[in-house]
């Protein structure tokens, strides 16, 4: 395993960098998109609730690989050109955002309805009440499940390997097929994933304890 690092360190490092970059971008946007659709789902407007529901059900129930492929193959052909990294990251963002939306919606609904009612009666608009009162309280409930989503996101970023996204998994595949040393290569790749996910997992546990 050490020899894989010695001989292919540069490729693995590039892969690790791309995996982290893709994860951070996807995390950022899936949080924003996911929270937005979560709010759609608790809005008084029936139309927006339905739109939120459709978005979540569609992206949650299609395999990530299909979404990634769609952006890698179909979108460049008919809409606009994009490389594998972009296509994979967009796919991962949309897919993850649907899970985050579900998580955040559950968190919002776990907040006592008296909080929203008190705020509305006090003169706040729906969005003001959401932003200042309900979401900060919902956040507490969603920290543990969100942590799981983040870890899944990092692991799922390996979908980039299928769309030439030059991530960790892709580099691993390349090295393995060039050297035939599949055993050591995939062990090395696994270790590198752990380097990202284990600290994340421990940090989440720490947050959970702190907020409890």
């Amino acid at each position: 395993m050490i020899s894989v690092f010695q001989q292919h360190g540069q490729e693995l490092l590039t892969g690790l960098g791309n995996t982290i970059l893709c994860s951070v971008i996807a995390l950022f946007f899936s949080l924003i998109i996911g929270s937005t659709f979560a709010i759609f789902e608790v809005l008084p407007s029936k139309l927006l609730r339905v739109i939120g529901r459709i978005y979540i059900e569609v992206f949650r129930n299609i395999p990530l690989l299909v979404i990634g492929m769609f952006f890698y193959v179909v979108v460049p052909q008919y809409v606009l050109p994009m490389d594998g990294f972009t296509a994979g990251t967009i796919g991962l963002t949309l897919y993850t955002s649907s899970f985050i939306a579900e998580t955040v919606r559950a968190g919002i609904q776990a907040v006592d309805s008296g909080q929203m009612e008190g705020a509305r009666a006090n003169g706040l608009s729906f969005m003001q009440a959401m932003w200042h009162i309900v979401l900060p309280q919902a956040f507490k409930y969603v920290i543990p499940p969100l942590g799981n989503q983040f870890i899944n996101l990092v692991k799922n970023s390996s979908v980039l390997a299928f769309v030439a996204g030059f991530d960790l998994m892709y580099q691993g595949d390349m090295i393995a097929s060039a050297t035939f040393d599949t055993f050591n290569t995939y062990i090395a790749v696994g270790v590198l994933y752990l380097i990202i996910t284990l600290p994340l997992s421990y940090y989440m546990r720490y947050l959970e304890k702190k907020l409890a």
């Binding site: 008296g114 008190g118 009666a121 006090n122 003169g123 706040l124």
Partner: protein, 244 residues
């Protein structure tokens, strides 16, 4: 002109007829107490006044706005009509001081310094000025309710609605809250109060409204009502509640 006026108001929850032909007027500065058995529609009635519940038919004029009109901006009404709930509904993620300052800041754009001065003055008047930095979960029920009253007052409302403000309190805390309410009434606030506290009703109310099964059965001057309620069901209700 009355500040609150119901004209032939009907309210349904699905098929359930919750308010039936409600006609009611509340003049500026009046204190109206609403009583009636559980499930008679008291909460529903009071919650229509600030638009927490929609009405299906009739007209409901509050401070000049018509709540039956879908185009009416409810926030405009809520600025002027505060509400105090049975379970306080304080913001759990905000301190006492923040609870009081939030709506004036966001809704009225009151400047920080004036906002804080007003809030501190109000907290003093309701007797919780030593708790400004506490969170709601650190307060007793009585303190919570007095903070909730201060929060409503901070908006400088034209009317206040109370839905069983003392029903969730331990007996020894009820008087503290009722005394604050009496003070507010004395200062001329228009108040609609759902309560089982007959002592308070006798002492403070100008009028008593008795409801049963979604209808207003009696609407009388407080003195007359307690002397001799006209309705048989009101009599029974009174005798039951006073015995306990």
């Amino acid at each position: 002109m009355p500040i609150i006026e119901f004209k032939k108001v009907e309210k349904y929850y699905g098929k359930f007829h919750a308010l039936k032909n409600i006609n009611l007027q509340v003049e500026k500065g009046e204190v109206v107490v609403v009583i009636g058995p559980s499930g008679s529609g008291k909460s529903t009635l009071i919650r229509t006044i600030n638009g927490l519940e929609e009405i299906e038919e009739g007209q409901l004029l509050v401070n000049g706005y018509d709540l039956a009109d879908k185009k009416t901006d409810l926030n405009q009404i809520r600025k002027d009509v505060g509400m105090v709930f049975q379970h306080f509904n304080l913001y759990d993620n905000k301190t006492v001081l923040e609870n009081i300052m939030l709506a004036p800041k966001l809704v009225l754009k009151r400047d920080e310094k004036e906002n804080k001065e007003t809030a501190l003055k109000l907290l003093e008047s309701v007797g919780v000025s030593d708790k400004t930095e506490s969170y709601p979960k650190q307060l007793s029920g009585g303190q919570k309710q007095r903070v909730a009253i201060a929060r409503s007052l901070a908006m400088k409302p034209k009317a206040l609605l109370f839905d069983e403000p003392t029903s969730a309190l331990d007996p020894e805390m009820i008087d503290d809250v009722l005394n604050v309410m009496k003070e507010i009434a004395k200062e001329g606030m228009t108040m609609v109060v759902v309560t089982h506290e007959m002592g308070f009703a006798r002492e403070v109310a100008d009028r008593v409204v008795f409801m049963d099964k979604g209808e207003i059965l009696e609407d009388a001057h407080a003195d007359e009502f307690f002397e001799a309620p006209k309705e048989e069901r009101a009599k029974q209700f009174l005798s039951k509640i006073i015995k306990h």
